[in-house]
Symmetry: C2
Subunit: 225 residues, 2 copies
């Protein structure tokens, strides 16, 4: 098998989840940056939904969308300890929280902040809508309070073991942290958990990411923030 | 195993997907109607995200959220022909389209229509916002045009075989059809496909659903609409 290729953009949380899973399982991938929001015809032909991640294997198998890609990575490259546990209760709890991070957190919080601060920065003449940012930041408080509560009683998000739920939420927060949007000290349990994740080798490549013309926050690459 | 219990509400598309999968696999379930939008404390304790479906097995295993529940149903009750195919290309294509129906279609179209027409009907003093409905209906046109295009070249949504992608989209459309929101004749391939699905025994229980004080559209239970 040739090195699989991942179409992504730097601050896309769903693509970051795929990168974390591949790194954790020791799978080298080649990154190809796509400004998905430009909706180029050649890109829409691959994914009419106009979204990343897209994963390409040997130019033969193309996996489109975060569910298809993460399921494939887990089933084809997964090695013990698995990121999606086999045991039914842990498996269901992991899926519940992956869903929360990928859909609920994204819909309430990250998609707006990333759109306003990162994507609009690439679109000439557009500026962030502060009213939208305010709502997204308010929503983020509720989400982080819940995760802080969960992490007060569990070592990892879905229980005693690290799972893809941890990566799914960390992928979201890392993108927002790049944009200086996470008030870590308000959520000490979340901060402690994120510090542990950030120290993992799988996390390192993400911390080297830089967006041209948009420096990372001070906390972004700092392991002891 | 006692009969599993599904917490749902009548027009929730994600719960309808679970009902269709269980019916197709011949699994009897007990339905319990929950007005999730009331956000009762006892309900939020089961799912802090405040959403259905929630699936309960023998009062011991509680599965929360559509991903956790559908994965469980597929893995525990699935029988050939599987609704989530094993072969990697078909599996990825099925996941891509399930995601589209559950997340993209829902975010662009159905969550708004269901909120404005169904949920607000249950909340005293609130009325549908016609501007929101207009945007959702416009979005629906784009989605249905795409699905019409896909179904012009394939018998089922993800390929030659029926999969959970068909159920995921049909679950969405059935809820909107109840509310007279689907202009079937504009999308002949979608209509033909939906007619085939609607005739399956697994679909029948859904067609018997009624919302108090809100009659179903004329097409809803008609197999030859």
């Amino acid at each position: 098998m040739a090195t699989p290729k991942l179409l992504h953009y730097t601050l896309d949380p769903a693509s970051r989840l795929v990168r974390l899973m591949c790194a954790e399982y020791g799978v080298d991938i080649e990154l190809q940056h796509v400004k998905a929001w430009h909706r180029e015809p050649a890109f829409l032909e691959i994914n009419p939904a106009g979204e990343v991640p897209i994963f390409n294997i040997d130019d033969q198998l193309t996996l489109v969308g975060v569910s298809a890609v993460t399921l494939f990575v887990e089933e084809q490259f997964g090695a013990e300890p698995l990121l999606l546990p086999k045991e039914p209760i842990a498996r269901a709890e992991t899926r519940r929280l992956v869903d929360w991070a990928l859909n609920k957190f994204s819909e309430d919080v990250s998609r707006y902040i990333i759109e306003e601060k990162y994507i609009k920065n690439d679109v000439r003449g557009s500026t962030p809508d502060t009213a939208v940012l305010r709502v997204a930041r308010d929503n983020m408080k509720e989400h982080l309070s819940y995760f802080n509560y969960v992490l007060a009683t569990r070592r990892w998000l879905a229980g005693d073991e690290m799972t893809m739920a941890d990566f799914a939420l960390a992928a979201q927060l890392s993108a927002l942290d790049y944009l200086s949007e996470v008030t870590w000290d308000t959520y000490p349990e979340v901060k402690d958990w994120y510090q542990r994740l950030k120290s993992r080798p799988a996390f390192r490549p993400l911390l080297l990411d830089r967006v041209v013309g948009m420096p990372a926050s001070k906390t972004y690459a700092d392991l002891d923030f």
